[in-house]
Amino acid sequence: MNRLKIYSVSEFNSLVRMVLGEDFGTVVVQGEVTGYRRRAGKLIFFEIKDKESRMNVFMLDHQLDVEIEDGMEVQVYGAPSLFKKNSGFHLRAVRVEPVGEGALAEALQLLKKKLDKEGLFAPERKRLLPRFPQKIGLITSPDAAAYNDVLRILQNRWTGLQIVFHPAQVQGDGSVNSIITAFDYFKDRKDIEAIILTRGGGSLEDLQSFNSEKIARAIFSSHTPVVVGVGHERDWTIADLVADKRAATPSNAAEIVVPDKEEVMAVIDTFERTIFRVMIDGLEDSQRRWQDGIAALFKGPQRWQEHYQQLFLLLGHKFASFTHKVSQKQKEVISGQQRLTNSISFFLTRLRDRLEQYNKLIKTLSPRATLERGYSLTVGSDGKILRSSKQVAIGDRLHTRLASGSIISETKETND
């Protein structure tokens, strides 16, 4: 009689686990996901099934880099195993891949939903690009047409730009890490004002890294705003959604990041024109006000004094300093920018001459000048300026203003 070896439970458990591990190594099992659940944040359990059988699958959170859900067809990479405690048979997975275009697209949708929920796509967090950048970062493949397109457009559009180019692999194995390395490099460059991440168009598989969670998070956590441009694609990749600004193509990315120097030149021209126009209008306006003031001076003797006083205040101390400034300006403008000077210097000269004329006129017509010519001003007992002897009665006290000093007198006689 053959003697069978007697095992303890745990011994047999270990033995079977070992045998399974040795004989099978890593296998790939395809089936439909069902009963997907996550425990304690890190442990992932689900079953895969086909028409006849189902099998438990177990893996750890960080080993699953794609979003899956019940109903999805997947390929599970792993090895058969038993749990130590309850000997539960399961497939110990290290990797899961969705199967078929449908499943890939579905996984992508799930990832989009997850990241959206976390706020990675939120419009509020998108940062503004600087208006006139001086230093920008560029992440792309040096072999790609995208690289040349971007540099060409940047060169045509703007000047004095420093471009820091960190080459990266934009598709295939290793592309995710390659791009992450580039972002890590730019983390330490506080002088970079914007980053362009770009590549040409391609299939869903080609663009896989641009739909990866890792790159989405790298873009999101970048201190510098990121512009993403994937060539000729109508659909938005996840990188497009997280980007601070999405470009339709690599060339478009360059257009977004720098302004067009022709446009900026035109804007500066309009600023210049505005400044000129308003300045000249302002000068014409002032001249008109002063002219009105002078004209009022002639509107009858009663209003002389008030207007003169107003004008004197208005022009008085300002006048001297302003004419000085105007003639100064005229000299500078003539010696400086020739094309700008002609109309304004002519205008300023005319203005200055007019102002000097008015000044002379005021001096001549002012009450003071008149008094100095020998005339005097007499005010009656009612305070009114006398023009007619009929305003006065015998015995009235009169106050007479001379060029120097005044006289108080009493009326003795009047003559009409």
Binding site: W158, L161, V164, F165, V264, M265, F322
Partner: protein, 79 residues
């Protein structure tokens, strides 16, 4: 992001913004002649400087190369 403001380096953004503000103030407020002359001069000077800057042609490209654990950078300028 730290915005660098160096006294010797030409800062396009700052000068443009200053000119923009001067033009805006001319549009909106009635111009006081004395202040106006000062702003007028400053505005024209800024416009001249900015336009001159736009006339320059070169961008510079710096390529980052990673060799093992060292990062080497080589500069090449492009016309």
């Amino acid at each position: 992001m730290i915005k660098k403001k160096t006294t010797t380096k030409f800062n396009f953004a700052d000068k443009f913004t200053e000119l923009e503000k001067i033009a805006e103030s001319f549009e909106e407020e009635s111009v006081d002649l004395e202040d106006g002359l000062v702003k007028f001069e400053r505005g024209l000077k800024l416009a001249e400087e900015l336009k001159q800057k736009l006339g320059e042609v070169e961008n510079r490209v710096e390529t980052i190369k990673k060799k093992f654990s060292n990062i080497e950078s080589e500069e090449k300028s492009e016309e």
